[in-house]
Symmetry: D2
Subunit: 439 residues, 4 copies
């Protein structure tokens, strides 16, 4: 059969139109056969809105591709070539609960890290593994492009516990690449090579090669003195501590403010929670508005408003990755993939987020020079947190859960941690069956 079958899991997401736009833009390099939208019962209505918008967008672009909606994941997966995973276990309500539990205990409430990231991973990983098991059966040659959060842990869980060809994606390095291009005054992003390395939401720019020179010191000087275009909209653009960039000689991704500026972030979050609402609450309101817009039968393009959503370029990265694989483009992209020695000091079989050459056979990571010891120690600590979290997500073992969380620098230890963990497990009663099986 000619043309690709693409399945989108969690298709009711407000991000889907960006994905559709990306596919339309690449119509000449990515021949499509069928587009399958999958969601669960709770997302049926949103998916319907998205499906209609998708059909209008395709029609406007002159594409006559079948768009199929289903609650039956298996029929969507059967024979698929690419599977995009972008679901949110427990919906935004669960994310908001995580944030509120965290802040109640004086902890940062964040979707991919700390207590919130832990809870999210525990809800999500069992579902991701179920999808992977179905893919092994129904589309063993398909690529899984995962942008379901926490993307690093979910990708690692799938890579370790299945034979599925999975790649994790994130918009953070995409935004950094665009920001660096702007600072260097480059028209094309391929005019330089930016190499990143680390874990998802925990990466560092290691070098920016242009014309035989490493421009990293220059870029560090620029963002130290002027505006910093490397920060996504959903992260407070606090200036980095004066000692950080100079001391490290590397640029941390914006999410590293959660570590290097944890107290400021916590104050900011506490203020927001008492004001306009937590990030989850703000996003929920924004999403409602977006779906209002999506419903408009005259809308046949991705609306401008989506760009305020925070996850910008996620879907563009996904489409570019599909094309790079399909067309053996051999371009450099930044992806979550198996470490296999790429970052020395992290386990071989863990997932890392690194710059890789994308070939028809998937990503071939570029080697990464050894990290300075202090940064390596943080990466190792975080990876241990991630691996214990994955283990707890699967087993539902509370000892393991506690050992994971007590390692995490965003979490405070002692009685507060024991209570916070109890609250997470209690308030996710239906969403964490493994933890409740034990009792």
């Amino acid at each position: 059969m000619t043309g690709l079958k693409i399945a989108i899991i969690g298709a009711g997401s407000s991000y889907t139109p960006e994905l559709i736009e990306g596919l339309i833009q690449r119509r000449h390099e990515l021949p499509l056969r069928e587009l399958w939208l999958v969601d669960i019962e709770d997302g049926r209505e949103k998916m319907a809105i998205i499906a209609d918008l998708t059909r209008r967008m395709l029609a406007r672009a002159g594409l006559t591709l079948p768009v199929l909606e289903t609650l039956n994941r298996r029929e969507a997966l059967l024979g698929a070539d690419f599977v995009c995973s972008q679901f949110r276990a427990g919906c935004l309500e669960a994310r908001i609960r995580d944030e509120r539990i965290s802040l109640r205990h004086g902890l940062i409430g964040q979707e991919t890290n700390g207590l919130g990231g832990f809870a999210n991973a525990c809800r999500t990983i069992p579902i991701a593994l179920a999808i992977a098991a179905e893919m092994e059966e129904l589309c063993p040659d398909a690529w899984l492009l995962n942008f379901t959060n926490p993307s690093g842990m979910v990708t690692e869980a799938v890579l370790r516990h299945s034979r599925v060809k999975a790649v994790g994606l994130c918009n953070v390095p995409v935004i950094m690449q665009k920001g660096v291009a702007q600072l260097l005054g480059c028209q094309r992003e391929s005019d330089f090579v930016m190499q990143v390395a680390g874990l998802n939401h925990f990466i560092f720019v290691r070098q920016i090669l242009q014309q035989g020179e490493d421009r990293l010191p220059q870029v560090i000087a620029q963002i130290t003195q002027g505006p910093d275009p490397l920060v996504p909209r959903n992260i407070p653009p606090f200036r980095w501590p004066q000692h950080l960039l100079t001391g490290l000689g590397m640029i941390p991704c914006a999410y590293l403010r959660y570590y290097y500026m944890s107290d400021d972030i916590l104050q900011q979050e506490l203020g927001e929670a008492n004001g306009e609402g937590t990030r989850g609450e703000v996003v929920k309101a924004l999403e409602q508005k977006l779906f209002e817009i999506y419903r408009d039968p005259d809308l046949a393009v991705k609306p401008k408003a989506l760009e305020g959503r925070g996850g910008q370029y996620y879907s563009e990265a996904a489409c570019e990755l599909m094309s790079a694989i399909y067309n053996d483009k051999r371009i450099i992209m930044h992806v979550n993939t198996r470490n296999q020695g790429t970052i020395a000091g992290l386990p071989d079989d863990c997932a890392v987020e690194v710059s890789a050459l994308i070939t028809r056979s998937g990503p071939l990571p570029l080697n990464v020079a050894p990290f300075p010891e202090d940064v390596l120690r943080l990466l190792q600590l975080m990876k241990s947190f991630e691996q214990l979290t994955i283990s707890a997500a699967i087993s539902g073992d509370r000892h393991t859960a506690w050992r994971a969380l007590v390692l995490n620098p965003l979490v405070r230890s002692g009685t507060v941690l024991e209570r916070a963990l109890d609250d997470v497990i209690e308030e996710n009663r239906d969403l964490l069956p493994a933890f409740h099986r034990q009792h």
Copy 2:
């Protein structure tokens, strides 16, 4: 010349009588020639009180050993066989300042760790290195027994930056050994082998061998269910989190409550600071009372009251170590020494606190089985903190100081850290010359 020359640096310490008692008890195995007491001008009066008490104690024991007081360290070091280092740079006032700065910024204030440990190390290490340089010249064969805090970092600094034969000591493993003996109902501590490993104030009991069995699980069960005699008096005896001992299968030393129960410790410290005073303030009052007692011309033994001081057994360990070296005893003691692969995953040339066979040629560490990954990560992180701290102490470089502190789990990051570091440097103006040279 027959008999040993012993020099005590910081002899005006209230602990000195315990050291004297230990020497008296070992009079038949440790022949002494001269006892030199050294202090600085600010400690002259305390040293005089100690010297008089020492002479009375020796007389009472029937020993006719010369006891010499001096402010001239070089004459005390010349030809010494053992040098006991137990000074406190900046006296208790500096410790109290560290505590108050820390608590003001919402941080744990502790003498050997976190912000306070950092400040203490920065004050102390340059002095320790000056002593080591003098020892290289004046008594190159002498053993330096260091119990100056932070003992681990001070010992490492001396081991890395001099050729002095240095061993660091701590009372924490001594108290643990006695506690375990009590739980096992052993008359003699040598009835079992307790092996510890880690960093100073950051050790874990790895095995408790008795009659071919590892009693560690039994001891864990005992301290989980009943009283915990492994805790020194100066650490709040909070019960360990339920997940910790079971999860790890190891017993952390009491100081690890600063990590695994950081929030409870912080609350406790904040309460104390607003009540009876910080630990430093309490100790200061206690010391004044001790020196009142020491002044009593009728006192000729170590007074009972010293046992409330917290540093119990420090000096006993020092005397036992001297005797074990001098007599080639080949007993197992717990000391700070060069790692050289003892703990896998830590640098070869760093200092670790481990169980070692004590010979005439010094400590030969027993090998340590690999740590579980989550504990290893903490040890590695702490060692990176320690090494950056040592580097900052010597160079006075603020970037390095910040990089050290931002790694430490007891320290919060962001603006709060930048301000706290500024305060430490500002309020130690005369005590941190390296940091002020820079400006």
Copy 3:
């Protein structure tokens, strides 16, 4: 029951009288209950001779201990406290065959290394594992003292594939310790601490501590200039290459002549094979003479002639180890035990030969400082050879066997290796069932 039950596997060995002598010498520290001699049908006659001599020796010493001979290993193992393993799979005939095959292909023929060591391991390991399985059932608390060759590989196989408490022994470090004592002019071996590390028959003296000094440079100078008393009688006492000791700053054990002087050893062996016979052939003749002597009903002590046998002190080490364990002696002995990080760069769960403190709970290895890189590489290569050999011994897989041998520096590669391996498998038809099961 009071007193120890000791089982000797391979009791028909000509070494047994030394073991009996050692037990008699330690009669006051090692209370015995029963002594069981075990052998197979082929060794029945030799065992009978040994048993009679043993009874005469015990009687002469005034000991009334039951000495039981059996071909039924299980009854000997039942409830044993110590099991001494000293059997030779395939008897001396197999060893001689190995030597002849090796020399025929231009290879060194040696019992514990190279092609011969490989063949010996493949014959022996399955039997050792069968014994270990029986011990798990019949005497789970017993200690297995293994001096069956190749001792390092056999010990590792048992440690990895059973729960038996096994310690491997060798006379090489014992002879080195005695030689060093002689060079230092020490009356007692405990006057100094000699630390060795490496693999069985592949160890290096790392330090010789006496009075706070490392005497290693002095001892190196002595054996460079004068006679070398560290060499067992069965190794050609070639002088070390001039560059070796000076370059390394360590003393290799005598067996390392097989590596560092492989060509001279090969020439020597070829000469012997064409003259008085291979080592195995010489030993066979010697054994026959020994058994003649053993038969003498008037003989009631270990005969002088045994000392020419090469394995001197093996049994003394075994008796000393039994006593050190039984009496919690906490002396330093040199044993084969689990690495667990003792030698950095070798796998945690492999067997290494190192200096260890012997306690009632077994050996606690002293930590070993990192090896210089060139020696570490040899150790790693040899360990890979050993591990592949163990794997081949169990599986009978020829690919694995080839991969083991092609790594070994004593073996030449190419067609010669393929033929030599074929010959080993063919000429051990009945002794290597795993390899023949495959066909």
Copy 4:
């Protein structure tokens, strides 16, 4: 100035016409300004012949580029953009001497490995470092493309002891890539990704990716059963031992026959030395014929006869690398570059031969999955040999030289090694000044 200045060191080599042909073929992508030929007095005549041929070849191609001959290396290096290093220290005579010394002692005589590789490295590295020092001064931004043998060690020496941007090249992976293309039936080599890793002349094919599949097992099956087109002409095309390819699941480069089939190679070399001559002698005769041909004033293209020379594709690789750097081609090539963690288990700052993305800023190595332990051990051993050799080449220290050689599996140890080393030093009196300075 527009256009590139290229300097060729050792321009009197018979390979130079291939280099010229490569430059002519790339005339549209590599704009040239000046071509400088450099050699020493002994090579003056050959260089003159090459220079004339070069001018004829350029003229025939319609290129009007200045071709300058010089014995003054500095004027050639001044302002150069690319420096091609292809000299042979001591000329073919030295190579032949190495071969004859080796064979006389029963050792393999080979130009890049074993005793011959050692001798060659010791002659060459001091000169390579002198060139690098001049480049730092005269053309600090130039790229050094090294194909002077032993290419791996020479490249490492330059990378470690200078700041020159050096890349080492070899024709072995080029030939393997072409062989694989032939076996896969691919028109274009870019239709698949072949990844190699190891050390120079010691590499393994790790994967052959095509259409999302790893074709390595298929290619292994092909060369096991049929002809093996991956072997250069100068290596005996012995079939691999049956256990090797199946056991490893990787394809060793042809030079690994020197290890895995050392005995067959040695027999072959001994036969050749007694027959048509050693490889060096054969090459010498071939070179004389080639220079006869080069002299022909009618010759204006690279002659067919050069293809029999063994070093085929060396120069093509060099030209392609120049173009890939100059044009930021981002193609994958196989080069010697700094390890920096690319191959786990080898030092960070050593040179490795790996597949890399070639950018304007030089090679970015692709990450390499961990090697199986047995192969890693060989790589580590060889790297230790290389590093000790480099150290000996610089210091002239005989202890170090011996320690290097005794590690090498191609060298036999004992008296034979001591004599062979003496002979190498003695017979290279003028070519190894560092070794003779010592005496």
